[in-house]
Amino acid sequence: MENERDLTERRLSRHDLLKLAAAAGGAGLVAGRAGAGRAALARFTAESGTLQVLDWAGYEVKQLWQPYLKKYPGQAPKFTFMTNEANALAKLQAGLRPDVVRPYVGYIQDFAQSGFFQPWTPALISNFKHLNRGMVKAGQFGGKQWGIPADWGFDAILYRTDKVKPKARSWGLLFDERYKGKIAWFDDLNALVVAGYYLGFKKPYDQSDAELKRSQDFLKSKKHLVRMFWASETDLDNAFASGELWIAYAWPNDWVLMKGKGLKVEYMYPKEGPISWIGMFMLGKNTPRPQHAHAFVDAWSSVQSAKWLEDNYGYGEANTLARPTSSDLLKVLKLTNPRAVQEPNAHIDRHIPRRSLYARMWEEVKAS
């Protein structure tokens, strides 16, 4: 039984994949060898079993990967859900072996170095050429394409224009004493990064011990202003819509949602720069279904899926050809400017060398 499984779920390495690409390409170039090329293709594409995707809840809806079903009718992927990147890594360490996983851009290096992943072969993704170049670059590590960008958005400030009068377009609004009890921060160690930008540090993602202590002390000193740390968008949206909150660290789709509810709101990009986050598909090491995995990501990268994501979830999608129906979303995501997500317009979320220290210091802020 085990041998049978080994035969059917044969694991292909990146080396095999390159051989496959070479075989397919060679077959195209040498007409006389077309039969051999097709044979090689057939040999390497003899994949079986269901594609295993470890993803965030909500991303399993088929409209987001419809072209995959067209290519592989009746072979819907099997989804397992992750609650955060650490949770995903824990699942992998516990033995889960998904073909595709989607961490966010700040974790690309951590995941690449974990030993559970291998780089993609962009040539196998037909929509790759339409993906935002800055985001594609953010998915690279060590010169290889470890992450394929998909969903993305900004971290900036949502506020009620009828209640709040900002002194400046700055992260400082999250620390404004005038609005005590009406502010929400995101429950994430990135709060230390934001504090770093606000305090003017050169490398907020890699602060020195003294800088980190200053950031932490600053956050502790402002914590009394904060009504809630939100970890779920639903919690944030409910609290904001019901008037509990006037100012929040939020995502663009939250602005669209609140505007849709008739609230007078603005989504403010701070002068210190918003943070941009990008979901990055990663390929499981020695996956037995590399073709399926590439096809799945290709489907996600299609204009059709990208537009559906924008229209229904309010997030951006890396495909630069996709445009949402909502002009508000088009405006808030700055989709007419492909460079809006990167320096100097925004800070793409990135690897934090001392992430565990940041995490501990953030937990201490919450506990203080």
Binding site: T83, N84, E85, A86, N87, L89, A90, Q93, S114, G115, G181, K182, D187, D188, L189, K223, V226, R227, M228, F229, A231, A239, S242, G243, E244, R355, S356, Y358, A359, R360, W362, E363, E364, K366, A367, S368
Partner: protein, 295 residues
Amino acid sequence: MGRGEGQLKRPRLDLATPGLLGLPLAWLAAFFIVPIAIVGAYSVDALSIVPGKHPLTLDGWRDLLHGSVYLGLFWKSMKMSLVVSGVVVVLAYPLAYFLAFSGTKRKYVLLLILIAPFLTSYLLRVLAWKVILGSQGVVNTFLVWIGLRSPDDPISALLYSRFAVMLVLAYIWLPFVALPIFVSLESLDTRLLEAASDLGATRWQAFLRITLPLSLPGIVAAFLFIFIPTVGEFVTPSLVGGTSGYMYGNQISDLFGTGFPDWRTGSVLALFLLAVVVPLTVVFARVSRTERVAH
């Protein structure tokens, strides 16, 4: 020596005790002792979710005992639980007293009504308080309606606050606390009260000198019954607590689950909580035994 006595002395293999105790003990070992041992291993880095070899360390324990942050949060949670437990016992006592001594034939129906909320989901009951306590909730809407507050100035401290957590915890645990007190009062020998009355004691004196002391084991049991679970509570604070209602249990949950986890610190905090709760459980057991002896 009679024939029967000889038969009694004949040695025989008694499998009843190990047979009866074996499964529960195995269950306890597998799902209580072993998990605690694993958590203990994480607390000293004998196990780690971070790949690679890690030397054994007591740094997590040192950080907890020498740092003020987590201990401060622990004391905050202890104080909140003490207040909730105390208030709920005071509220539950008259309720239990009424049920035990009113003489009504419907006392078990009333008891059923008391525990009726447990027929609905815990989560639902907590979330219902959001509707009641919110800025546009029942309380604030009423205050605006009677003119005590303006619509632009609702009482925001009702929700996402320490008060909200304590109120909801009190609501959740009140019926639980009433039950042990009720049992304690109902099994009280009422002839003692008749004797006190015959000897000229007023009802208040009889209560203070007989009813209250004899129901004390039930009160202590009820107090611990609520204190032990609430000190490590994390669901209610995460739903209605906001930043000021954040409790020790939330910290443990966050260290294990959210963001970039720190299982070592989370394990240390969890074991520290256990180290406080176990002695309280021993007290609970002793009090329960005292209660049995008293009756």
